[in-house]
Symmetry: C2
C-alpha cells in the first residue's frame, strides 16, 4: 500500500513539517526542495528518510532552523559563508548565488562554508551552478566513518566529491560520489537481515577486514580504491574542514541524533567560468568527449538515470510507502 | 655494478643531454630538475627512464624544446598558458609563478595549460605552490589507457590528481595519484616476465576482465574504485582537457615515440590561499588533523617516504645502474 503525491504536494508537506519544528518558512522551503529532489532521483538516503531526524534536530535546537547564512567577502574571488549551525541548504543557496556572479566576473571563485550540517546529495548543489553555465567542484566532510589507512579509529567522514558541468543542449553532466567503497547503509541493511557482507567493505573495531555486519557496524568503512582512496579522503577532509576552519569528522556530532553538539562540519565550493579558460571551446569540446563515450555500446554517463526519474516524477508523482507516509503525517501533527 | 652521482651531477648530465637535443638551456634545466626529483623520490617512471624518449622527441621536433610558454590573462583570477607543444615543465613553472601571486591577491586563481606534454610527477608541481604557502589542486589528462565504464575502447588517460597543502614546520603534505588501479608499467613487467596479472587490473580488447598480461597490453586499464573511479577519470578529463581546450586521451599522440603528432594534452591548476578562506586557522587545523592520523599506530601520510629519500640522495647521491648510465652517456655523445 502506498500514497501518491505530486512533487509539489510532497515538497509542501515536508516544508510544513519543518515549519512546525522551529524552522523559518524560507529555510524550510530550501530544505524541502532538496530532500524531495533526492527522493525523486532515487537517493533515498538523502531524501524523505531525513525528515524525521532533521525536524527532531531543529526542534531540539541542535540545528538552528532560523539561521540566516552570513557571507563575508574575504578576498576578490573568495567568500566565507557562516551557516550558523543551521541547515546546510540555505548556506549553499547563498554561496551559489554569490559564486555564480564572482566566477563569471573573475574566471574562478570559491566559497568556504562553515558551521554547517548534512548537505544531502552533493551533486544537487554542483548542478545548481552548472545550470548557471558554471563548472562546479564541491567537497564536504561528514562525521567519522573511515579510519586512516593502516589505522582502526574513525577520523574522516565518507567525504563526497561532486562535479558538474553545463552542456549545450542537455541537462548538466553531474558526478557525485562518496569516497567509501559502499554506503554504510548497506552494512546496516545486512546487519538487520543477519547477513554477511562482502570482504573489502569494512573493518572491525580492531582495524581488521571483516565480513560480519555487526563487527562492521562498530568498525569503519573502507575507502573506494583502498590506499589510493584514503589519499582522496584526506584531500577532501583538508579542503572541506581544514580550509574552512570547521570540525573534522572525528570532532563532529551526529547528523542523525537530536541531542549533542552541532556537527559544525564544512564544505568547499569552487566555481569556474568555462568560457575564459577554454577560449570559449568548452561546450563543443565537452560534447566531443561525451560522444566518444556514448558511441561505445554498454556505456552511460554518471548520473544519467536521474533525468528519466525526474521526468517520471513530474508526470506521475512520488510513490510514498505507508510507513513513510504515516511517519510524515505524525510529524506534521507534532509541533 | 652502478655509478654514484650527486643530485647536481645527475641534473647537469640530463640538462646537457637535452641541450644536445634541440632544447634551450632554460627549458633543459627545468626538465632535468623535475626528472631527477622524481628519480630521487622513487618515481622512476617519471625519472631518468624518460630522458631517452624526451630527447628523441625534442630531436625529432615532436616536442619543441625551444618553446617559451605564453601567458594570457583571460580574467581577473584566470590565466591560459600555451605550452607551445614544448615540454610541460616550463609551462608549469610559468603557471605557478603567476598563480602564486594571483591567488594570494584574490584568494583563488587557476591556470589552463594547453598544447602540453607529459608533466611527470604531478605532485611535484602541486608541491611548488605549497612551498609558497598556497594550497594546490592539479589535474592532467594523458594518452588513452582506460575505457569508459562498460566500454572497451580507450578514451581517457590514467588522469592523475595531485593536491598539496603547506604545513607550519614540515615539508608540504603532497597527495598524488593516477586513477588507474595500478600503473600500466606493472602489466608491462608481468608481460615481459610471462606472468599472469591479478584480476581487477585490466580488460582485454573486447572489454572483458583478464589475467593474461598480453591481452591486457592490447586492452585497457581498470580505474581505481571501478565505476566510482570512472566518474573521477571523466571529471579529470573534463577539467584538464575540455576546460583547457586541449586534446583528449583518445586524440592525443604518444608521450613516448619520437614520431607522430604532439600529444597536445592539457592541465588545470587551481591555487588557493588558505588564509582568507580559513580565517587564518588553516595551519593550526591541518596539524590537528595530521596528529589525529599519526597518533594511530600503523598509519602514515601519503608521500611521507619522499622526505627521507630526498635527504638520502642529498647526502649520498643517486645510484644509477650500468644500463641506465650507458644509455645516458650514449645520449650525451649523440647530438
Amino acid at each position: 500500500m502506498a500514497t501518491n503525491l505530486s512533487i509539489e504536494e510532497t515538497t509542501n508537506l515536508v516544508k510544513q513539517i519543518l515549519e512546525n519544528h522551529n524552522t523559518s518558512s524560507q529555510n524550510a522551503e530550501l530544505v524541502a526542495k532538496a530532500l524531495v529532489a533526492a527522493e525523486v532521483e532515487g537517493q533515498k538516503g538523502h531524501g524523505l528518510s531525513r525528515v524525521a531526524s532533521y525536524s527532531a534536530q531543529s526542534k531540539s535546537g541542535k540545528v538552528d532552523g532560523y539561521a540566516t547564512p552570513e557571507v563575508l567577502r574575504v578576498a576578490e574571488s573568495a567568500i566565507r559563508v557562516n551557516a550558523g549551525q543551521g541547515f546546510a541548504y540555505p548556506a549553499f543557496k547563498t554561496a551559489i548565488d554569490h559564486l555564480s556572479d564572482l566566477s563569471r566576473k573573475h574566471g574562478i571563485a570559491a566559497a568556504a562554508i562553515t558551521r554547517s550540517h548534512h548537505c544531502g546529495s552533493l551533486g544537487y548543489h554542483a548542478e545548481m551552478l552548472a545550470k548557471k553555465n558554471i563548472v562546479a567542484l564541491v567537497f564536504s566532510n561528514s562525521p567519522k566513518a573511515m579510519a586512516p589507512w593502516g589505522g582502526k579509529e574513525g577520523v574522516f567522514g565518507t567525504n563526497p566529491i561532486a562535479f558538474a558541468a553545463p552542456r549545450a543542449n542537455s541537462a548538466p553532466l553531474v558526478i557525485d560520489l562518496s569516497l567509501s567503497k559502499v554506503a554504510r547503509g548497506k552494512v546496516k541493511v545486512a546487519h538487520e537481515k543477519g547477513e554477511a557482507i562482502p570482504e573489502g567493505w569494512a573493518l572491525d573495531q580492531d582495524g581488521n577486514p571483516t565480513t560480519n555486519a555487526e563487527d562492521a557496524m562498530s568498525g569503519t568503512m573502507i575507502p573506494m580504491g583502498d590506499a589510493k582512496g584514503f589519499a582522496l579522503v584526506l584531500m577532501v577532509e583538508v579542503l572541506s574542514a581544514a580550509l574552512t576552519s570547521s570540525q573534522f569528522g572525528f570532532e563532529a556530532g551526529s547528523f542523525f541524533t537530536a541531542e549533542g553538539p552541532s556537527p559544525s562540519i564544512g564544505q568547499f565550493v569552487i566555481a569556474i567560468a568555462p568560457g575564459p579558460f577554454s577560449n570559449n571551446q568548452f561546450a563543443t569540446r565537452l560534447e566531443t568527449l561525451i560522444s566518444a563515450i556514448l558511441d561505445q555500446p554498454g556505456t552511460r554517463l554518471p548520473g544519467s538515470k536521474k533525468d528519466a526519474m525526474r521526468e517520471e516524477a513530474r508526470q506521475n508523482g512520488l510513490t510514498i510507502n505507508d510507513n513513510m507516509m504515516e511517519s510524515l503525517l505524525a510529524l506534521k501533527g507534532d509541533s
